[in-house]
């Protein structure tokens, strides 16, 4: 019986793969074609970058089922996957970590990733691999570029396009040119985008304008021995970025990234080896006077430099692939707050918000993906990380006399000192092919994320205690022990996938308010961080159904429940249950469809800073939003997409809001009312 099952699953696998071959005359290269069906999976999504109009990578990611976003304005949406965010997610921009410069995350990594300068985006929910970095308990997002393909002896590939969204008069134009051959190429793409403040369904202005220019230049080559080289430069210039959900706006959000990668086949015992080295240099500025009026002026210029190296080697070993690698990442972050009277640009520093924070992390990892037997695959991985961190300006006094260490001492009884962690992560994941193309998978993982610079060292004092925001230099790393089980079903007309997960977190890093909790020396409602035990569990669902040759529907749902078990409290800023239903007509040349996004209310909130964390702007209401979309091919080279978002012009806001340490009146940012958008692109 066991053998029969194995045979069946083997046959079903082979059955789903059709193989053709061609054996041509001498001196010609024959080809073997391997075709298979795409797998729909609730834990893995690839995004179509041309499908919608988006302000930045963050808004783009919201297309993915189960991805929510913390919203302050239109630009800088900070993604949340399975209720996890910030560095609980590993977001890589073409292999590089780009950490933003704003301590309040106005510029999360995805804000530097315009859809127009990337070729594909993959979202991996939960822990599916350990090779992209430490942490990543909530998921991994890969913004990637591919090597240009020069087909039919073409030497130049060109893509140009433009987009417009009526609400907020947002527009963008882009061009992408690659010239070369299989042996080497030069590629450049550029995009410029601008938007004004949009209006919500009631016609009220929501501060959300932005302006951004991105430029990417890439040089690729190949040596005689087949070693491939690539050098990429990215320059992103953001300005006039307005935030309805913050007390400041951003006149500058810039990133310069440089990356060199070398890839070679057959080095020593490895079948492929890839070495990457990168630097990202983010300059961010925010203030409360350039775009709004304030009685006292304040500005926070900041800098975040991240240098990284990654060396990966893969080898075929037995019935699988073994990946061995090392990575190293060093971050330097500095943010200083200046304040003064209205009318003059403040030059008096009153807080080293990020007091010269230096963090380095060196990782060593091994991961094996192999077959137990036909139709039974597994991944086993392990990763060791050594983290060192220090705040070099923690003992320095700002012009106002404020010293970060005084704040740490006041709230936690410690000063910042050099800290070191040794973190062990492990992953084990099994996949079983069942009959008829169905698949069962389960995974167990332990991942460790170190506290980020804000959680550990943020030092913003104030004479009003509840406006203080103090990082905790004594934070332990957050340890996630996760179980993940899923099923992929394939019917005659349907494909569906469901995944449930349970994440037991020890030392969950909780943003809280000072109420004299264990280890917290004050009860003055200041924003603080502490370790608690927590449990997160939830479900992701993704399905498609083909009604006929030309009609199909998609269904998605996501839910997460997050609880602080140490204090028996809810964990704030947890997205509510949500789902989407779509129906579309499609043929070879055009598509037209409608989707409805249904979001439940969230009543599991913390909205009182005197008793809990106060991070939520109260309970949120359920809502449904209807969108229409369509696309048509313009000859062989062009593509036109149009859509109407929020057709019924509803006034609504997502549950997630950007909490403010300084102003508890900050509320949810309303989404845009009805908005007509279009995108056109041409390829030559």
């Amino acid at each position: 019986m066991k053998h029969k099952n194995t045979l069946l699953s083997g046959l079903s696998l082979i059955g789903s793969i059709t193989v053709f071959s061609a054996v041509a005359a001498d001196n010609e290269i024959p080809a073997i074609q391997v075709e298979a069906d795409k797998i729909i999976d609730a834990t893995t999504s690839t995004l179509n970058l041309d499908n919608s109009f988006s302000a930045d990578g963050g808004e783009l990611l919201l297309q993915t089922p189960g991805v929510s976003g913390v919203k302050m304005g239109n630009h800088g949406v900070d993604p949340v996957i399975r209720g996890q965010k910030h560095n609980q997610l590993n977001i890589l921009l073409d292999g590089a970590f780009v950490h933003g410069g704003c301590p309040n995350r106005m510029d999360p990594p995805s804000s530097f990733a315009s859809a127009e300068i990337y070729d594909q985006v993959t979202v991996l929910k939960g822990v599916q691999t350990l090779i992209y970095g430490s942490g990543g308990s909530g998921g991994t997002v890969l913004f990637e570029r591919s090597v240009p393909k020069f087909e039919n002896e073409k030497t130049v590939n060109t893509k140009v396009g433009a987009g417009y969204r009526s609400n907020g008069k947002a527009w963008d134009i882009f061009a992408d040119v690659a010239a070369g051959s299989e042996d080497g190429y030069a590629r450049a793409s550029a995009t410029t985008k601008k938007a004004e403040t949009y209006k919500d369904g009631d016609g009220n202005d929501v501060r959300s304008g932005y302006s951004e220019q991105s430029l990417m230049a890439s040089l690729g080559g190949k040596s005689d021995g087949g070693t491939k080289y690539r050098f990429d430069i990215d320059a992103v210039r953001g300005t006039d970025i307005l935030y309805a959900g913050a007390n400041m706006d951003s006149p500058q959000a810039d990133n310069d990234s440089y990356k060199l990668s070398i890839e070679s086949a057959k080095v020593a015992m490895f079948d492929t080896v890839k070495a990457e080295i990168y630097r990202s240099d983010v300059t961010h500025d925010m203030d409360n006077y350039s775009y709004r009026t304030s009685t006292t002026w304040m500005r926070v210029p900041s800098k975040s430099i991240t240098d990284g190296v990654r060396l990966n080697g893969d080898m075929i070993l037995g019935q699988g692939d073994l990946t061995l690698g090392v990575d190293y990442k060093k971050g330097d972050r500095d943010a200083t707050r200046y304040g003064g009277l209205a009318g003059t640009v403040p030059t008096n520093s009153n807080a080293f918000m990020w007091p010269g924070v230096e963090t380095d992390q060196a990782g060593l990892f091994a991961e094996y993906q192999g077959d137990f037997s036909k139709g039974n695959r597994y991944t086993a991985g392990m990763r060791l990380d050594k983290v060192n961190t220090n705040a070099t300006k923690a003992a320095l006094a700002a012009d106002s006399g404020a010293i970060a260490n005084n704040l740490y001492n006041m709230y936690y009884g410690v000063s910042a000192s050099k800290k070191s962690e040794n973190n062990v992560s492990a992953l084990y994941r099994m996949e079983h092919d069942l009959s008829k193309g169905n698949m069962l998978f389960w995974g167990a993982s332990r991942t460790v994320r170190t506290a980020d610079e804000t959680e550990r060292y943020l030092a913003a004092g104030s004479t009003t205690a509840s406006k203080r925001w103090v990082g905790n230099p004594d934070l332990k790393p957050e340890v996630h022990a996760q179980l993940d089980v899923g099923l992929n079903f394939k019917g005659k007309k349907s494909k569906s996938s469901v995944s449930v997960y349970y994440d037991n977190v020890s030392d969950y890093i909780l943003r809280d308010r000072a109420h004299g909790q264990e280890g917290i020396n004050q009860t003055d409602n200041a924003t603080i961080y502490r370790n608690v035990a927590a449990v997160l569990y939830g479900i992701d669902y993704d399905a498609s159904y083909k009604w006929s040759d030309n009609w199909r529907s998609n269904f998605t749902a996501a839910y997460v429940h997050a609880h602080n078990t140490s204090d028996d409290r809810v964990i704030a800023q947890t997205p509510p249950l949500e789902g989407t239903v779509s129906l579309e007509y499609f043929n070879n040349d055009w598509i037209v469809g409608a989707d409805v996004r249904l979001v439940d209310e969230q009543t599991r909130v913390e909205d009182d800073i005197t008793t809990d964390s106060g991070l939520d702007a109260g309970p949120s209401e359920s809502f449904a939003v209807l969108n229409l979309y369509g696309s048509i091919k313009l000859g062989k080279k062009g593509d036109l997409k149009v859509g109407v978002d929020n057709v019924l012009d509803k006034t609504y806001a997502e549950h997630l809001n950007k909490p403010s340490a300084f102003d508890t009146s900050v509320v949810r940012v309303n989404e845009a009312g009805r908005s007509v958008w279009t995108r056109v692109s041409m390829k030559f």
Partner: protein, 202 residues
């Protein structure tokens, strides 16, 4: 290591899982190798068609019919040649030698072609589209190259172009296909084999 006691249990459990899986890899590998040697994974239902790769290749492919016509034409020429003057005999003999050589080369080439064809069809039995790539929408063309030795073993196996997962899968399809079908008798099998694997999702 600064691990809390609470986590030590989890770590030891995971380490134990890893060690067990390593043992399992070893056992399952030997099982797989044994089972493959007994029964190569051919599926009678799979249609294996010989297709030209692209236009350029199509033009160069000599089909069976064309070969037959050429052969008939050659035979006719030979008959005509038999009726020529005796003084031309030496030259004709030389020409014949050359023709025989050409025929031999042709024969050897066609044996070579048919062996490569057998080889590729054999490799096809071991093709797999990696599930991770099918899930992540990864497609691409992978150039595979290896040197085939006389004894049927291979060296310098390499794969280039495309995504890492596909490169490794392409290489594994070759290593899994070993040993290759035996070389035709009296034929030198030592040669460089290059082919492309085109991974495409539906």
């Amino acid at each position: 290591m600064t691990l809390s006691n609470k986590n030590n249990n989890v770590v030891s459990l995971l380490i134990s899982l890893l060690i067990h899986s390593a043992v399992f890899i070893y056992v399952s590998n030997s099982f797989l190798i044994a089972s493959q040697a007994q029964a190569p994974i051919y599926d009678k239902n799979i249609s294996i068609t010989l297709l030209p790769v692209n236009k350029k290749l199509k033009d160069n492919v000599v089909d069976a019919e064309t070969v037959n016509i050429k052969k008939i034409a050659e035979k006719k020429t030979e008959k005509k040649k038999q009726s020529v003057q005796p003084e031309q005999k030496q030259a004709t003999a030389q020409k014949k030698d050359a023709e025989i050589k050409r025929e031999k080369t042709k024969k050897s080439l066609s044996v070579r072609k048919s062996y490569i064809s057998t080889l590729l069809m054999h490799i096809e039995g071991y093709k797999r589209y990696p599930v991770s790539a099918r899930r992540r929408n990864i497609e691409g063309d992978i150039k595979v190259a290896f040197h085939l030795l006389d004894d049927g073993s291979i060296s310098e196996l390499s794969a280039s172009g495309g995504a890492r997962a596909l490169r490794l899968a392409a290489m594994r399809s070759v290593t899994n296909a070993l040993p290759f079908p035996p070389c035709p008798e009296k034929f030198n099998c030592s040669m460089q084999v290059n082919f492309v694997m085109k991974y495409k999702l539906r």
